[in-house]
Amino acid sequence: MPSGRVKVHLWSGLRRFTGGATEVEVEAETIAQMLDALVATHPGLEPVIEAGVSVSLDGEIIPTATHIPVAPENEIYLMQRVKGG
């Protein structure tokens, strides 16, 4: 079971799914767990996550990988899916 509590910065358009919050804390040790926890705590985020998101971890954008570990000290931003271009 996840034991780390990570803070996730959401983009402001998601406030309507989180009761106005743009920073949400969830228990997670990987990006996958973090996304699952976001949906569990804020079910309105499910279509957002399903549509595809990327994650910025300490300034590095992770386009699709969800097996990457996350930790409380990480700066984490949820982003719209970043594509190759």
């Binding site: 358009g13 957002v48 699709t64």
Partner: protein
């Protein structure tokens, strides 16, 4: 802390050896998409809608099928039903279903024994249309009463009551923008528009597809990503991906436009329907322009606040972009890039992805970023100019740097924007005195860069040379760069490494060459593969010497005993180890599969001098400077080529290129005579400066250079024209007629 902590000197990295594909290309030996042929091959031709929006009432192919030599005709009825989503969109774009959604939309395709017969047969296919109301302009498509392209296409992000063609809404930012504007001494707003442009690759789309009734097939195709071709064709045709082997040809330009499918499933469907005979399909230039992905057109509102010293206090952007009749304009990336060059206490972005009766947009070099830069850098230049500030100094004062919270959220790590500004300021072009009707423009640009799924295999041959198999087609010199990095790592010569782009059956999945990723991601993967082979060779040397494998190091292309064993045995070179591979464990190889981490962003600064003819409104580029952070230039000639190519495409976007639609919704200029891309005689040699602030996430410091370079030219040219004429143009392209009209209006007061 020094900016560059990565090794600075290399034996090969940073040199300029001959390109590995040079001889093939100058002798005509290189095989492009249309060069493939196969025994028993048929030719295909596509019937395309002459209407921007029309219901397809009936397709009658009987006359075509009666023509001698015609073997098959396909329509949407020959494709399986697929659920809504990516594959439905791709299928619908490949061949229209109930409605043709844009001028040039494919409605049927025919295969025959010759290209001539196929074209004749296509003309014999009778399609009955019911013409529907259409919309091609982005602002018109945004209206509540606009013709509806597709009901139910909007996603979760679109609030109820939005215009019916809005399919996605983006809303993000941080800080208190109203407080930021209130604290500003100067606040300005501007409205800006850019027209759709095409990637303009010289080689049209071409493929040969073969698909049997057993669902097994092959394809030879001009593409930036043959695993994407495989996946997308399989999804559209309802076949298993692994049963389709796809081989990429040499490529005559892609720029993002060849990262998806357009007509490839048609050749496979025709092949399947004609008994598995290979079917060749080569687009004409008109087909390329009418039916393959241009970029979006944009309508943008930007508001910026700054102090009287030019320090930014707040900014907002509202962007509307149409990406054709399907979801997928690059409005998201445009917003993310819009203010990325600068430190901003407060910023807010709002974006709308809008459907219109135009072809499905494809990626085009830093998708969205050039349009965003045109709006933002244009307004910034106007405001800093009003305050009497030097454009480079003002940018330096506001420049994003390590530790800056980016406009899109995350905190930047090591980046090199400031260094590009410093290098631009020091360049000789800045000291050239300008004459009458001449002006100098400055602009900055940004792109994220990207990693993506990557597989590489490296094998050492019996003579100690190395072959590297990659899955990213070489569109900008990646084979040379990868060979240099592998040779550097292995300690052998550049000429002893051959890099090949191999077919989909030979490696794990690879994303296309997109996102400026090939030299970064495939290069990093190749270095990892080389390291893996080195480890194996050190292990074999250790075994021969009877020492622990950790006590062996790899130096200058040879295994050497290290530590307490140093000097006890003579080094074993890669040639010696390779010669004995069969008796020491068999083949020597290394491979990598993953998403290489460590992407580093790239920033650039451009400076352009122009002269505007006051009588004709024609703008001449006098000199053009590109300064960009490459992280590390593995093969500087290719990096310079990327800088120059990006600048030239951006200049074309700024001055000439545009999709011109008539009132009937048909594209008016689907040939290069009327769709005017810059040619060599239009431009001076583009000056380049490679800044190297190495990316710590790559073994040689690579960031990726393909995309940032197209971002600043649009505003740089507009800013230069403003300096030359006193007229600030808010709409691209700044064609002679448009600029002359503006100058005449100014003269009349």
């Amino acid at each position: 802390m020094p900016k560059d902590e990565i090794k600075q000197t290399f034996r090969l990295v940073g040199t300029r050896p001959d390109r590995p594909d040079g001889l093939d290309k100058v002798t005509g030996r290189a095989r492009y998409g249309a060069d493939f042929s196969a025994p028993g091959m048929l030719w295909a031709s596509v019937v395309r809608s002459p209407h921007a929006h029309a219901r397809i009432k009936k397709i009658d192919a009987s006359k075509a099928l009666a023509l001698e030599g015609v073997k098959a005709v396909v329509t949407r009825a020959d494709f399986p039903e697929v659920p809504a989503g990516e594959y439905w969109d791709l299928q619908e774009n490949t061949i229209a279903g109930e409605r043709a959604l844009y001028d040039g939309h494919a409605v049927a395709a025919v295969a025959a024994t010759s290209q001539l017969i196929a074209h004749d047969a296509a003309r014999l296919i009778e399609v009955e249309y019911e013409i529907l109301p259409h919309v091609t302009d982005v602002d018109e498509a945004f209206k509540m009463d606009a013709p509806v392209i597709r009901e139910g296409a909007a996603d979760y992000s679109v609030p109820e009551g939005s215009p019916p063609n809005v399919v996605k809404v983006l809303d993000f930012g941080r800080g208190d923008v109203e407080a930021g504007f209130a604290s500003a001494d100067l606040v300005k707003e501007g409205h800006y528009t850019t027209e759709a442009t095409h990637q303009g690759y010289i080689e049209p789309h071409a493929c040969v597809g073969q698909l049997g009734s057993d669902g097994k097939g092959e394809m030879w195709v001009c593409t930036q990503g043959h695993w994407y071709i495989r996946r997308m064709c399989a999804g559209v045709l309802g076949i298993e991906a692994a049963n389709l082997r796809v081989t990429a040809s040499e490529i005559g330009g892609g720029f993002g436009g060849k990262t998806t499918i357009f007509m490839e499933p048609l050749s496979l469907a025709l092949s399947r329907k004609s008994g598995g005979r290979p079917v060749k399909l080569v687009m004409s230039r008109a087909e390329v322009l009418r039916a393959t992905g241009p970029t979006a057109s944009a309508s943008m509102d930007v508001k910026i606040g700054m102090t009287k010293d030019g320090k930014l206090t707040a900014a907002t952007a509202v962007f509307r972009m149409q990406g054709g009749a399907f979801t997928g304009s690059p409005v998201d990336a445009a917003l993310n890039c819009a203010f990325a060059c600068y430190e901003l206490p407060a910023v807010h972005h709002l974006g709308y992805d809008i459907l219109a009766n135009r072809p499905k947009a494809a990626a085009y070099r830093a998708p969205g970023a050039p349009m965003a830069a045109f709006a933002v850098e244009n307004l910034l230049d106007e405001m800093w100019g009003e305050l009497g500030l030097d454009p480079l100094d003002a940018r330096m004062m506001n420049a994003a740097k390590e530790g800056t919270k980016s406009s899109y959220g995350p905190t930047f790590k090591r980046i090199g924007f400031e260094e590009t500004l410093e290098a631009a300021k020091a360049h000789k072009n800045l000291s050239v005195k300008l004459g009458p009707n001449q002006g100098r423009g400055v602009a900055a640009g940004f792109w994220f860069n990207y990693n993506g799924d990557t597989s590489v295999s490296l094998a050492v041959a019996e003579d100690g040379t190395a072959q590297v198999s990659v899955g990213t087609p070489d569109i900008g010199g990646s084979r040379a760069s990868i060979a240099l990095m592998v040779a550097e790592t292995l300690g052998i010569e550049y000429e002893d490494v051959r890099v090949s782009v191999v077919e989909t059956g030979a490696l794990g999945v690879n994303e296309p060459t997109h996102g400026s990723r090939a030299t970064f991601a495939t290069g990093k993967a190749a270095v990892e593969a080389a390291e893996s082979a080195i480890k194996d060779m050190c292990r074999r040397a250790a075994k021969k010497w009877g020492i622990d494998e950790d006590a062996v190091e790899w130096v200058d292309g040879a295994a050497r005993p290290a530590g307490p064993n140093a000097g006890k045995f003579p080094p074993l070179s890669i040639v010696e180890i390779a010669a004995k591979m069969s008796s020491t464990g068999g083949p020597i190889a290394g491979h990598y599969e993953g998403n290489p981490p460590g992407v580093g962003e790239s920033f650039g600064t451009h400076v352009v001098d122009v002269e505007v003819d006051p009588e004709t409104g024609r703008t001449e580029i006098l000199r053009y400077l590109v300064v960009q952070d490459a992280g590390r230039a593995i093969h500087p000639s290719y990096v310079e080529g990327q800088y120059q190519g990006g600048a030239v495409q951006g200049i074309g976007w700024a001055l000439n290129e545009e999709y011109v639609y008539g009132a009937d919704g048909r594209l008016q200029n689907p040939v290069f005579l009327d769709y005017r891309i810059p040619v060599a005689s239009d431009l001076p040699m583009i000056d380049t400066v490679i800044v190297e602030v190495p990316n710590p996430g790559h073994p040689y410091g690579v960031r990726g250079v393909g995309e940032t370079g197209i971002t600043p030219p649009l505003p740089a040219v507009a800013n230069a024209i403003a300096a030359a004429t006193g007229i600030r143009m808010h709409s691209l392209p700044i064609s002679p007629s448009k600029l002359l009209a503006a100058m005449n209006a100014k003269r009349k007061g």
